[in-house]
């Protein structure tokens, strides 16, 4: 693992359902600078700092779910360069 200054992680973000509408986007590429192992929570913090819908929809206490490479994970799950990180509301199928 690289731990030098300027360690850059390039992620493909996917927004689904209510969040896709709130963000007016189905997804984007995000580059995250990190000094140690980045986690999903770092993505959330980066998005939240943009303000607007990102800040309100991802505010602490809001029910949000995550998938990394299409598997459900918790916010403390580590992420790596090239990962697909999906952010969505709790599921309501069935």
């Amino acid at each position: 693992m690289r731990d030098s200054v300027g360690n850059l992680v390039r992620l493909r973000l996917v927004y689904l359902a209510r969040l896709r509408e709130a963000f007016s986007s189905a997804g984007e590429t995000l580059e995250l600078a990190s000094h140690d192992t980045p986690r999903v929570s770092a993505v959330v913090a980066t998005l939240r700092a943009r303000g607007g819908a990102f800040e309100s929809e991802l505010a602490p206490g809001r029910a949000v779910r995550f998938a990394v490479n299409q598997r459900l994970v918790h916010a403390d799950h580590p992420i790596a360069d090239g990962d697909e990180v999906a952010i969505f509301p709790p599921v309501t199928g069935g």
Partner: protein
């Protein structure tokens, strides 16, 4: 295919027939069909649209079916889930489980539905007289999944 995501309707009888065909060890077939209701929290629903996360949906459903086979002594299991625009009365989801005896088949069918409700990436949006709204997840669904 033990899991399918499709916009077309399904024929439960035909699906059950295919799943149990040729397996003489099957003594019980349990099926669950979820359908669109015309009311939610006392508001009239004119249309229900189901969105999903292509790719993850199929693998999540497959994982749930694999887990059901590992946990319960069943012969086979099938999940068909519809996406797109649906009307009240339409079928949404079909779960079929075959087994030697009914007990495990009933349990496995409930397990698949409880896990699907909390782990498979589908979202419902309702159209009502006052506009469209995304359906909120229910705490009771989390509780139902937690008992397994």
């Amino acid at each position: 295919m033990p899991v399918r995501v499709q916009s077309e309707d399904f024929d439960a009888g035909a699906e059950i027939g295919r799943l149990r065909a040729g397996d003489r060890s099957v003594g019980a077939v349990v099926a669950f069909i979820g359908t669109v209701r015309d009311l939610n929290h006392d508001a009239a629903i004119s249309e229900l649209t189901l969105e999903h996360y292509p790719g993850m949906t199929e693998s999540a459903l497959q994982e749930i079916v694999d887990e059901a086979k590992a946990r319960f002594d069943i012969r086979d299991a099938l999940v068909v889930h519809r996406i797109g625009a649906l009307a009240p009365g339409d079928q949404i989801v079909l779960v079929v489980v075959t087994g030697a005896h009914r007990g495990k088949a009933f349990d496995a069918c409930e397990f698949v539905m409880d896990y699907l409700k909390t782990r498979a990436p589908f979202w419902k949006k309702e159209r009502r007289e006052d506009g469209e709204r995304w359906v909120e997840a229910r705490a009771s669904d989390d509780e139902a999944a937690a008992r397994w």
